[in-house]
Amino acid sequence: MTEHLSSAVLDVRGLCVEFPGRHGTVQALSDVSLSIRPGEILGVVGESGAGKSMTGLAVQGLLEPPGRISGGEVWLGGRRIDQLDDKQMQQVRGRQIGAIFQDPLTSLNPLFTVGAQLVETIRLHLKLSKADAKARAIQLLKEVGIPAPEARYDHYPHQFSGGMRQRVVIALALAAEPKLIIADEPTTALDVSIQAQITSLLRRLCDDHGTAVMLVTHDMGVIAETADRVAVMYAGRLVEIGPVAEVLKNARHPYTRGLMGSIPALGRRVERLNQIDGSMPRLNAIPAGCAFNPRCPEAGPRCRKDRPEPAPVGTGVAACWLNAGGVL
């Protein structure tokens, strides 16, 4: 099911996340499996509420209580991390998993200089003297393309533009040379003219350092240009995963095809991915069988009865009866 098990940086197996609540337990993620190799960018797409961010948070051990991992395993560089306590996860977060958030305007503490925040992160994870940490911080600022890094080191976040701030955030994510970066819509909040710069920066850094990236986005154009493989999520489930070129050309899942239908031409940008009729079910009202069946143009009786498991198709994986013996 998961390809390249041995060499994967991140290997998520059958991950389930639930939120116990007053009106019963909500299954936010159900049986999500994916893996990312060194230097690889895995794009994650899906409509709003599909569980993209939730997957990233679960991997980082940052689920808001009462949310919890209720099943499955998370392996990072050959070590199982879903059962670590918060103290142990502190040494994983930042050190082995870097994070990039959506809004660079709010990701940085307004009361500390970017230098202070970089040095803090560096010294939390690497045994460096203050002077060495500062040198490394300046080096990082330079690497993410911030002009005059020595001077910028002492500046506060509000003195940077949105794009520059996101570069600082990327520098923070890279501070301790993590194996994996989880970037949750890193360009959504930015000016269109800057988005491409940030994604290509991410691509370049990830190539240079061999860092694996989980890139959550709404933008199929970004996926087409920067990702190696793409995972498609729907209602807390993974519906398809495969190499980008293959998925774009020859999607195996009707939902993916619907998403692709929303790209007019390869390379052109589309803002939102909701061109399919109807809307995603709420998590407490997921239909039996295939979660997509009420909206699926190709649904058959079997789709309303049995849930399709993710299964290898061609070079990827898809969860659809069409690829597993038909819908009847």
Binding site: Q60, L62, D86, K87, Q90, Q91, V92, R93, G94, R95, I97, A99, F101, D103, T106, S107, L108, N109, P110, L111, F112, E120, T121, L124, H125, Y156, H158, Q159, V169, L172, A175, A176
Partner: protein
């Protein structure tokens, strides 16, 4: 920053002038000073002479100008009651009130901030909710009741600390301090706690509300994602972002602490400015009342100005906006 400073100072001076006008009006129109000072044996000629000597025949503006000029030099005239220099009377009482209010402020921060942080991060636990509940009682209890209860428990029943007075004081120049002697410190404990209690609950509730707000913010989540340990996030990243409103409130309320000290001082027989003021009111001692009003307002205005400047120093965003 310079322009900002000048603006704030000009503002402060204007407010002080307004207060001086008010004090002057009280001084001038609440009863005839000559009648208040004179005794039965005084002849009409003496009265006219006194009126002339006090400058009461000059125009309103001249009199106000003279009042402001004198007040700026700390001269509020002499007490109607005992003929002593008003400024000297206030200066004698000032350290007692100041120490009381300062210690109360320190107590309110030392106790209020940690309680606020704890109740914010452990919200929902029984002790957080309990503290929240107690704090509501704390806010609604009148301070003289608190004072009397404290005296009853700690001074009368347990006999741990004195019930009234300042204990022994040490003279440091014109400043008399109770902080340097054991009996002085022991005497400070109850009154400052009584005075601080309300402030403690305010600080605690403010810190709690601000903390809960800040802990939801993106930069806190991002700090967690960078691997910053929890306590460091609470006390370094989050608390620092809560301090502005706390500093503001503390400084602004310092004036009210001094005003409220009036009640506490009465309950604990604390020889401060508040007691002096109460005595002045009973004797219609206008110069003392005017002097007290000006001094307390001056403290208010000075603190407000300092708060604004402190803002600019703490928050780099404001610093640049005013450049």
């Amino acid at each position: 920053m310079i322009v900002f400073l000048i603006k704030r100072l000009a503002n402060a001076v204007l407010v002080m002038l307004a207060v001086a006008l008010l004090a002057f009006l009280i001084f001038r129109f609440a009863g005839d000073p000559v009648e208040l000072m004179a005794n039965e044996q005084m002849s009409q000629a003496d009265r006219i002479e006194l009126r002339e000597k006090l400058g009461l025949n000059d125009s309103f503006l001249t009199q106000f100008g003279r009042f402001v000029g004198n007040a700026a030099q700390g001269d509020f005239g002499i007490s109607y009651r005992n003929g002593q220099d008003v400024m000297k009377l206030i200066a004698e009482r000032f350290p007692a009130t100041m120490e009381l209010a300062l210690v109360a402020t320190v107590l309110s921060l030392l106790i209020g901030i940690p309680l606020g942080v704890i109740t914010a991060i452990h919200r929902g636990r029984w002790y957080s909710e309990g503290l929240q509940f107690i704090s509501i009682i704390g806010v609604s209890l009148p301070s003289f009741v608190v004072g009397i209860l404290l005296i009853l428990v700690f001074a009368v029943t347990l006999g741990l600390v004195p019930a009234f007075g300042r204990g022994d004081v040490v003279q440091l120049g014109w400043w008399s301090t109770g902080l340097l002697t054991p009996s002085g410190r022991a005497s400070l404990l109850l009154p400052s706690l009584a005075l601080a209690l309300y402030q403690i609950t305010l600080v605690m509730r403010l810190v709690r509300a601000e903390m809960m707000e800040v802990l939801r913010s993106d930069f806190v989540k991002f700090a967690r994602a960078r691997g910053v340990p929890r306590w460091r996030i609470y006390f370094r990243h989050a608390l620092r972002n809560c301090l502005m409103p706390v500093v503001t409130m503390t400084a602004m309320n310092f004036g009210s602490l001094i005003a409220f000290a009036l009640i506490t001082e009465t309950v604990f027989q604390w020889p401060g400015m508040g007691m002096l003021f109460i005595q002045a009111v009973t004797f219609l001692d206008m110069p003392v009342m005017a002097g007290y009003l000006c001094i307390v307002s001056f403290i208010f205005v000075t603190l407000n100005t300092l708060v604004d400047i402190a803002y600019a120093v703490i928050d780099p965003r404001l610093r640049d906006a005013t450049r």
